[in-house]
Amino acid sequence: METKEKKTVAPRTDMPCQPADVRARNFDEVALGYTKEMAMQEAARCLQCKNPRCVKGCPVEVPIRDFIGEVARGNFDVAYRIIKTTNSLPAVCGRVCPQENQCEGNCVLKAKGQPVAIGRLERFVADNHIASSACEQVTGTNSCAVPLGNKKMACIGSGPASLTCAGVCAAAGIKVDVFEALHEPGGVLIYGIPAFRLPKNVVATEVNGLRQTGVDFHLNHVGGRTVSVTELAREYDAVFIGVGAGLPVFLGVPGENLVGVFSANEYLTRVNLGRAYDFPNHDTPAFLGKNVTVFGAGNVAMDAARTALRMGAESVHIVYRRTRAEMPARHEEVEHAEEEGVKFAMLSAPLRFNGDDEMRLVSVTLQKMELGEPDASGRRRPVPVPGSEYDLPTDLAIVALGTRSNPILLEATEGLDKTERGYIKVNEETGETSLPNVFAGGDIVTGAATVILAMGAGRRAGQEIVRRLGGM
């Protein structure tokens, strides 16, 4: 960046949040969002670069500079339409994208330490906009296509990849049926991400918008079991597989099946999908722990730790074998977790879980680590410090180490090529699988990744489906 005259850049506009001590005990949204004034103030910080690098950092290439320019001028509806040209779920992305590694990571103001708060602005624009029609909710315009003859397509799964694909196809006039295995649509946005980070009504608004544009959601339909890919491929002109992540990865240390050791998927599904925070008014219970230990350092680990606090834990530790700098979670989540009272046991790795006579978890034995030589990933490898073992009292342990692929649909579908890691193999340009006109995207293709990458894949496949079915 070359600037002849040194301009001072105003500091980033803070987003109001619930006070940490209050929010640590409720499930209401933590970050409260910008006001119009705050949004315009923050948007005015944008330098409106000729070659906006932020856009290149966005997996769906939202025209970031352009929408922020409109926000700065107070044209919020125009800004909304600009975002919706490439991003179908901005209210979701503004909340959950890892902006610091994407758009904001590329912002030229980052060199001065404080990039434009692109995620917060995206969220503001989405929340501020009240769609005048379902068509507008889904596409950002009021010119939805007339039905494309009798063309129809099916989505399996209803997470971010499928919702995006469904939206692209429905907007082009293709009849869409979505088959969801659980009893509520939304996938990871519902069962995985807690309401304090992504309120459920944000997801419901998107799903309802799709419903009103003619997308039908068939719940309790398991792809590969209740309906097979083969029969859908016969009945529909195209099929999109977006079934998401599968079985949780565990630590592989002794005592992992003691009562009190849970995967983050189970713990969060109980609380989020099952509404265990409202037990016994809702029937699904969550395991209650006084001393909670969470393993992992990604967003899911932060979600699990913060959920445990809200469920009444007295202490919550996050155990990670590397250091704070290597934690893959969004910075904001780590900061929020710390403010709320989550403690970080860095450079520690579990050796075993210890139980009582009834096989109930009482503690976990940890070992201190130090950083050694860089490994294949370029990060310094954690190596155990001899004789450094210690016990951390723990009656609830939550393992958040990621997931493997879900075998159900893959085992049931003949002719579907898989990668060496057991995910679905696709053509990267189109998202098409080894089965003609059957597409796939999201975690079932990439392994556990982000909402925005899944949306990008859903969008790519949706556009290809529209092109093939003659809707361009």
Binding site: H183, N257, D283, T284
Partner: protein, 279 residues
Amino acid sequence: MPTPILEKESLIPGRTSKLVLHAPQIARNAHPGHFVMLRMSPDGERIPLTIADTDPEKGTIVIVYLVMGTSTALLEDLKAGDSILDVCGPLGKPTHIEKKGTVVCVGGGTGIAAMHHIAKGHWRAGNRVVGVIGARTKDLLLFEKELSSFAHELLISTDDGSYGRKGLVTDLLRERLETDKDVFEVVAVGPVPMMAAVAETTRSFGVRTTVSLNPIMVDGIGMCGACRVTVGGKTKFACVDGPEFDGHQVDFAELRRRLGAFREQEKISLDQYRSQHGN
């Protein structure tokens, strides 16, 4: 779309009923050994139940349950003509069935109903089916008539001797294995202690023994790992790797402990339900 209950038959009043559900897509795809996940109310919990029978032509499946907690109490409150809010399946791996000779099918409690579906599969495959079923007392024995249609022989025991042989199913099983050398497999479905006892009984005979496990599940579709069981020293997920496993390899003590993980909360929930529903 809610799943209609076409018929309800009370097997043990207030405790166990048989429901015939209109679920054509599940009926069409279900095989012996499969299960479904159910949820009875918008605030309800998802629970797994093994499919006890199917009729693909009529589009029906049969489930049989024992009232143990809030979800099954809610189920027992429904009657023919009502609907179950959510029914999802068929899930799990089906029973491995091949024509090979004589199979002994051991059932206890509501497990007899689930066992009935497996016996039917073996019967249709051309195997000789010996049913061995038991209960504490005569009034608690269920599915005898249904099972008898798919068993060449049916051996019955009750703990108190009120019906059939006085004793346990494992007594009948042991005698059978001592005299009948054609048995190639024993399948057991029932309470955990019964399945564990069956596995111990057959171990010395070296007969392949399959048990259908019933761990706690949350989604039932391979996402959460609640249903993990230790089999042969390795962690398996009952919802996608099972629910049937080699009984000689299963860590039953761990399964029993894990089934009790939420006992206190289950009681709170059921007490609240009962106080609100006056029973």
